[in-house]
Amino acid sequence: MSTPRDERKPVTDEPVSLRVIGTRPPLYGAVDKVLGRAVFGADVSLPELLHGKVLRSPHAHARILSVDTRRAEGYPGVHAVVTARDLPEGAGEQSERDNTLAGDKVLYVGHPIAAIAAESPHIAEEALALIDVQYEVLPPVLDVRRAMQADAPLLHETLRTWSLAGQAASSSNVAEHLQHVKGDPERGFAEADVIVERSFTTTMVHQGYIEPHASTALWHPDGSLTVWTCTQGAFPVREHLSSLLDLPMARIRVVPTEIGGGFGGKASSYVDVVAALLARKAGRPVKVVMGRDEVLKATGPTPGTFIRVRMGARRDGRIVAAEAELCYEAGAYPGSSVGSGADTIFACYDIPNARVDGYDVVVNKPKTSSYRAPGATPAVFAVEQVVDELAERLCIDSLDFRLLNCAREGTRRVSGQPYPRVGFVEVLQAAKAHPHYSEPLGGPNRGRGIAFGYWGNWAGQSCCTISVNADGTVSLLTGSVDVSGALTGIAMQAAEELGLELRQVQARVADTASIGYTDVSAGSRTTFGTGLAAIEAARDVIAQMRARAARLWGVPVETVSYDRVAFTTSVDPTQRLSFRELAAQLSATGGPVMGRGNLDGDVLRRGGAPGLHIADVELDPETGKVTVLRYTAVQDVGRAVHPGNVEGQIKGGVAQGIGWALYEGCFYGEDGQLLNATLLDNKLPTAMDIPAVEPVIVEVPDPVHPYGVRGAGETPIVPVAGAIANALYRITGRRMERLPMTPAYVLERMGVI
């Protein structure tokens, strides 16, 4: 394993003089976490607490004929049993209701049907066995291509395909057909000297957060509700509860606990409504903690896919045409990540003529949820192998071929938007200059591959408040859940604006009663988007404090300025107050100062973060086992607010990508049973499997952010499988058309078995 060199100096566009941004302070909460004192979802405890457990479908597809809960209700220690009948009539979207507690049908193994609250989790589990459910078992459909066929079993009799042409007349498992067209693809292919076409399949993969979902609900005598839950977004959980319980939003307080990993999977709500229904019926607080098998069977995987890519290039090395067909498994209900897959597949390149068709397809597996750059990893696995093959056929260096064709400022994406300033070229140049790209591999059966990926930023909506304390410290609240250090990055931006040290800023995550609506911590948006809200709040603080200084000095406010060291006025150079000195006088000059940032980031022009990865792998030709020896990830992050944190995101994202590339997957039997519902069989990478990944930070500032920050957390997973596949091609001479690339599959491609 190579020596880590991640303390390298970032590549910067311009010199800057920032005091807080760019440093590496310890993260908020780190001491609590090493002491075991941080409160995660399942750590919540209340007086008179009951424990909830969920009855789940043993069948992948069945009609529910009857549910009899009477025996379970009479079991000693049981306090409440709930089914779909306990949901208020007509409340919420049908698919959300049905995925919370099944109505007429179950659509996957693990589909919730009923839940029990009892004195202990053991009693609740025993009582689950006493619920009598009668099923009419139906044939399941598990594969995306099979599900698209006209004679496939239908999950939803009323589902009809939406497309640009409107809604289809007859029922289907295809919920949506989306399409992007740019230029004239037919003419483009006619111009091409070389055309490559390949098809790829990928398996559903679970996000694999180590903390199972946990939610605790408490009803108050006035009919209001408090829910403590481990989630990526307290406000979306509140909205979900409000909708399904038919309860006004203001009467619900969702308190986000520390979150033990989410990666998109905790942007969905699974047991919050169930805990609330049980607690209401039992008249006592109820905690529902999922078991690992429940997590793997019934929560969030990312879609399995079928992707066909065809690309054409001229002899001069220019890509002139491309088309892709992406078929994504949505799981039991519509809403896969095919949209972002289609948006990302050709995102790195400037292609004059292209067409992308995407299909959102329901199958008898759990409803999919986001997973780190949702939809992008399978798409990039596919396209980067085709790009690699084009370069090879044209006898052009793989990196040079990407430089020749990469997107630039103003390039219009196939999905429509033109790019603002994004560091595609800078990332490729930094990769080319990196010693890893040219150093020898150092042994037989080794190969080096590269892949180029992109993930766009979504700023979303965020709120942040900053209250100034009399001692010159400030208290910052945000609605963004602290996923892996985001809170520290947000506070650092506020500290920079306020001219304070980070230790003078105490940041906390607020519950939904204490701050305004804030979107989920997801989509690479938190440090970027909520950071913008924190900057806005800090600027509001400074504006108010300038007015106080003006009042104290009896000068017009326009003459007062703050240079992040002291407040001064151009009228009287003898007047000067530090932030702390002025803070001490707020009470006597008009009362408390509280700054407010409420960002509608949806109106911002969207940037994003490209990443070029270099992977060295070794293949054992006898067993097919692949070992990743060396790995370098070059990424444009705009400006690294906390470089240590950015590197942590890159290392972690690559580790997940290596697992996805080589062995992770949710494997189903023909009857729809999940065959690997434990972490023994659903293998995640261990310390033995991941080399010391080297992150290389490139900083091309994003023009919409005052400090140039880009969201950085998701791009690191996107190119990994493609880079490893391209490395394996160098060893085997075979393109890898399936994920995961297990030893058996690699040997099969080599013709050994």
Partner: protein
């Protein structure tokens, strides 16, 4: 399961006595009876290591040990690592090296690392990686955890030398 069993043990250096059901795991006893929620549940079948504790000096998954089995024994959990002088060198090294992100695997990871350093004060990188392979981390990619353990080992050897010389 009416019949509860009385268990006496030493937990984090303190004598403890509690009643539990014979079917309750050590993990459940720690979390639900003794309020020691620093030990985490990730899978309850011994595959993630989040619930790692030391039982009579041995590293165990507390989800695979019954509460009644610790009768007369000694248990160390994450709550027992810090001493009167502050954080354990492993805890400090995890903070210094940013060896945690979400922090959910951290308590188990710390105990696994302590069990290693108790046996081998100067482990190779390979040995650290092997020893920690029973503890899953989904956030960090492990590199910084390995470096934190190496650094803590250095600090602990240095402290031991100072004590020996003193």
């Amino acid at each position: 399961m009416d019949g509860k069993v009385r268990v006496q043990a030493t937990i984090n250096g303190q004598p403890v006595e509690f009643l539990c059901e014979p079917r309750q795991s050590l993990l459940e006893c720690l979390r639900d009876i003794l309020d020691l929620t620093g030990t985490k549940e990730g899978c309850s079948d011994g595959n993630c290591g989040a619930c790692s504790v030391l039982l009579n000096g041995r590293l165990v998954n507390s989800c695979l040990v019954l509460g009644v089995e610790i009768d007369g024994g000694e248990v160390t959990t994450v709550e027992g690592l810090a001493g009167p002088d502050g954080l354990h060198p492993l805890q400090q090294a995890f903070i210094d090296h940013a060896a945690l992100q979400c922090g959910y695997c951290t308590p188990g990871m710390l105990l696994a690392a302590k069990a290693l350093l108790d046996r081998d004060p100067d482990p190779s990188e390979e040995r650290i990686r092997q020893w920690l392979a029973g503890n899953l981390c989904r956030c960090t990619g492990y590199d910084r955890i390995v470096r934190a353990v190496q650094d803590a080992a250095r600090r602990m050897r240095r402290d031991a030398d100072v004590h020996a010389e003193g």
